[in-house]
Symmetry: C2
Subunit: 235 residues, 2 copies
């Protein structure tokens, strides 16, 4: 097939803790071989019980100090710190941290829930309940350092080539500045978001037309998309 189609999966039941997301998606009966299933982080976290109430967090000294600087609730800052390996910025009301997974994002990715413990494992688990001929992405909205608005990115994936490596493929210009490593998983998460942007309550979308990036193995996951700390110029 030429090109790409993306659409939300309608009519899924309400997702509760313990839900078997893969089975629910399979039951919708819309998947075909080579499809990419993009699942919102929010429902994965919900299915995995990754919800902590504010009242369960007892703010320590650092949380109280940051909360005062940022004008945030101390218990919420404690929840964020609990999910974080390092605070990168805490100013002007914005708290940017590196999560324990190695994602750099606002508030450690916490909105109504924490990120999954291991989003690549979540993707593999969901994929295990689906046909091995489909790929799974867990998607979340991240801000960007120099651009306004959030774009959806892949925090987990299975069965997908996350980065398409064009290095070494011919470029007739003789210069080395072309895009050479394309973030397929992130671009697919963004495409899925647009397909369901009319109603953010639809938690799953299918992206069809990317079968050339779907693999039999689970593959490296979205961990492959993290820039190694040693190469990070903006910490």
């Amino acid at each position: 097939m030429s090109g790409l189609a993306a659409f939300g999966v309608e009519g899924l039941p309400e997702i509760e803790a313990g839900a078997k997301l893969g089975e629910m998606i399979a039951a919708a009966g819309v998947l075909v071989d080579g499809d990419l299933v993009v699942v919102s982080q929010k429902v994965v976290s919900k299915a995995e019980g990754r919800v902590r109430s504010l009242s369960s967090a007892i703010p320590g000294a650092e949380a109280r100090k940051l909360a005062a600087v940022l004008g945030k609730e101390p218990a919420l800052v404690q929840l964020i710190l609990d999910e974080s390996a390092e605070v990168l910025r805490a100013e002007r009301g914005v708290l940017i941290t590196e999560t324990h997974h190695g994602f750099v994002c606002a508030n450690a990715g916490i909105d109504s829930s924490n990120l999954p413990e291991d989003p690549d494992a979540s993707a593999r688990r969901i994929r295990g309940e689906l046909s091995p001929a489909v790929a799974v992405v867990i998607a979340d909205s991240f801000g960007r350092a120099w651009r306004l608005g959030q774009a959806e990115v892949a925090i987990g994936c299975a069965g997908l080539v996350p980065l398409d490596d064009w290095r070494g493929r011919a470029d007739a210009h003789g210069r080395e500045l072309e895009a050479t490593l394309i973030a397929i998983a992130d671009e697919a998460a963004s495409a899925a978001d647009l397909a369901k942007a009319k109603d953010s309550r639809v938690p799953v979308a299918i992206v069809r037309g990317l079968s050339r990036f779907v693999t039999a193995e689970d593959g490296p996951g979205a961990q492959a998309l993290r820039r190694p700390r040693a190469d990070d110029l903006f910490r």
Copy 2:
């Protein structure tokens, strides 16, 4: 229509300096009302003659100094500095600058050509050669501070709502951490990239299904996606 479709526009003639891109795209005969036309920066720059040869650049003291640090060609560094308002990072072989347009990216966005002088104006001009019922995005691949790989973003647009503002729309959770401002133009650029990723020589893709973001007016353009310097925590 529900969902999204994206496909490359096949069979466009080779783009030369002076080409009327909008007319060429219209002649392909594939557009329908509400479509979004995503055009690669590379061909816009080529049509606008935004190519400078290395031999035309006479490296000054700063370019020679940076070139030595980075292991880059001094003339190329001079071309990059000519397109830049500020150098953010110059280390480990990487040169990140803010362009005169206000984009933060590697090498001022130069690969085989400079970025268009005013990409929003380019988008408006191309749109002027098309039906006013379609929108235009000029797309380029940008790296990300904390993620590997490049994703396509909008450096110019016309007739499109670049940011979908959900602030104030209801969220039942009572927390304020949901994604509230969605970078529609960037997500659409990414979707278009996937639709033609099989062959990077296809310079134009159509994204269909986003007519709710297509406007009669040219609108604010991709300038609206720049994070104001005063809000930049990572300079």
